[in-house]
Amino acid sequence: MTPDLTAPAARRRSAAAAGLVGAGVMAAVDEIVFHQVLAWHHFYDRGTPDLALLSDGLLHAAELLALVAGFFLLGDLRRRGALVVRAAWAGVLLGAGGFQLFDAVVDHKLLRVHQIRYGVDLLPYDLAWTASAVVLLLAGAAVWASARRAAPEGGGPSGSRASGGTTGGGTPGRDA
């Protein structure tokens, strides 16, 4: 564990940890809303090649781990006084948008693991899926820019932090 994080490093790590959570949450929303509630997606698509089953399984397992690991990494940053809350929110949006874009392009179109909905014209659904991804990514980029602006010159992670610890040098007293 690196005891002292510079402000940019704390921002990046906050965003990365939260990005895992964002991607995991988006995957969970996809699973719960579209598979279970709306039943638009099928549990298994008869057109799925067998190889895609394995990649789909690996992706699914990685999503679950991302959600759990993201929370633990955020907890670790917070414990060290290095959590930048605004950068973390940027990470959530970027992670969610990134997952959505990946789902739209790789899962639906390249691997053809499953489609969004069956028995309908797919184009509007695919467009809406991709557009939602782009909106999330743009929002994430905007929040990220504001997190960078909010950081004081040469200082540590800025005012919008949950834990009141100091910055740059890690938690005081822990590594004296």
Partner: protein, 301 residues
């Protein structure tokens, strides 16, 4: 079907599985007695620990052990008759015996407890076993994952499953393998009992994702070919499709619980490392992690 009612002939036809679901057969009674004995032994050892080490053995560890033993006993008891469909019931049984119960048992740290209360002779034997090379190979997360998920693949993709419905010996052997491999996998990944040369957290998480992914893929393969898997067509396809979904979502639950166990250990180790750095300045020069990793050093309770 409810416990106590006469088993219908269709269920009896699937001998091994049918009897466990229908009534208190000899295997269900044996499992319950074994579970009770294991709980009694553990509780006695925990009390011994309190007397000898003068520090109470943590209650949550005892709770985990009782939970694990209870899950095994319930999984093999007629209580499981509440799950409709032979294939589904069998799948739920495997989820309990092979995934949830082992994790609970592992979190109870039975080897640590044993090392604390046993005589020096027993301790030497346990230390010798943990230091043996075959144990190093066996307890590596990759080996454990292959035995755990590979065992499931062999069960559902070969005629082994059909055999377990005819032969009680095969049925019992599969249950024992599923429990042992599940325990090995959870121990290799999450501790808290000492393991020889346990790889770092990142490696163990990669193994978890690959094993979870393979398990999920197997579940979908079973669903996709429910008309001819498991070979021998012992169950109606509709039942197998439901069982495959139990497998998929049950595997998710198990993966999340294991991930939490692995990462919680990492998080606690982070606190120890931070504390260790501070101490090292003033006193000790032994890295805390080296002591915690060595097979002989019992994990903290």
């Amino acid at each position: 079907m409810t416990p106590g009612t006469a088993p219908d002939p269709a269920v009896l036809a699937h001998a091994g599985h049918g009897t466990t679901a229908a009534a208190w057969g000899p295997d269900a009674v044996a499992a319950a007695l074994l579970a009770a004995a294991l709980v009694a032994g553990y509780v006695l050892a925990a009390r011994q620990h309190g007397r000898r080490v003068l520090r109470p053995w943590p209650g949550h560890r005892t709770g985990a052990w009782v939970t694990g033993c209870a899950l095994v006993a319930v999984a093999l008891s007629p209580v499981l008759a509440v799950v409709p469909g032979d294939a589904s019931r069998h799948m739920v049984q495997h989820l309990l015996v092979g995934m949830l119960a082992p994790l609970a048992l592992v979190l109870a740290a039975p080897v640590t407890l044993l090392l604390r209360v046993a005589t020096p002779g027993v301790r030497r034997v346990v230390g010798g076993v943990l230091a043996a090379r075959p144990v190093h190979v066996l307890s590596h997360p990759v080996t454990a994952a292959v035995l755990h998920v590979g065992g499931v693949a062999v069960l559902y993709l070969t005629p082994l499953y059909a055999l377990t419905t005819r032969s009680t010996a095969a049925h019992v052997a599969v249950h024992v393998h599923v429990l042992a491999a599940g325990y090995l996998f959870a121990w290799a990944l999450a501790g808290p009992d000492p393991a020889p040369r346990r790889p770092g957290t990142a490696t163990r998480l990669v193994v978890l994702v690959v094993a979870g992914g393979a398990h999920a893929a197997l579940a979908k393969l079973l669903y996709a070919h429910a008309d001819r898997l498991p070979p021998g067509a012992v169950h109606p396809p509709g039942d197998v499709e439901v069982a495959a979904q139990w497998m998929y979502y049950g595997g998710d639950v198990a993966e999340v619980l294991l991930a939490v166990a692995v990462l919680a250990a990492w998080y606690r180790a982070g606190a120890r490392r931070a504390g260790g750095t501070a101490r090292r300045v003033t006193a000790s020069s032994v890295p805390a992690t080296a002591a915690a990793r060595s097979p002989g050093a019992p994990a903290t309770g």
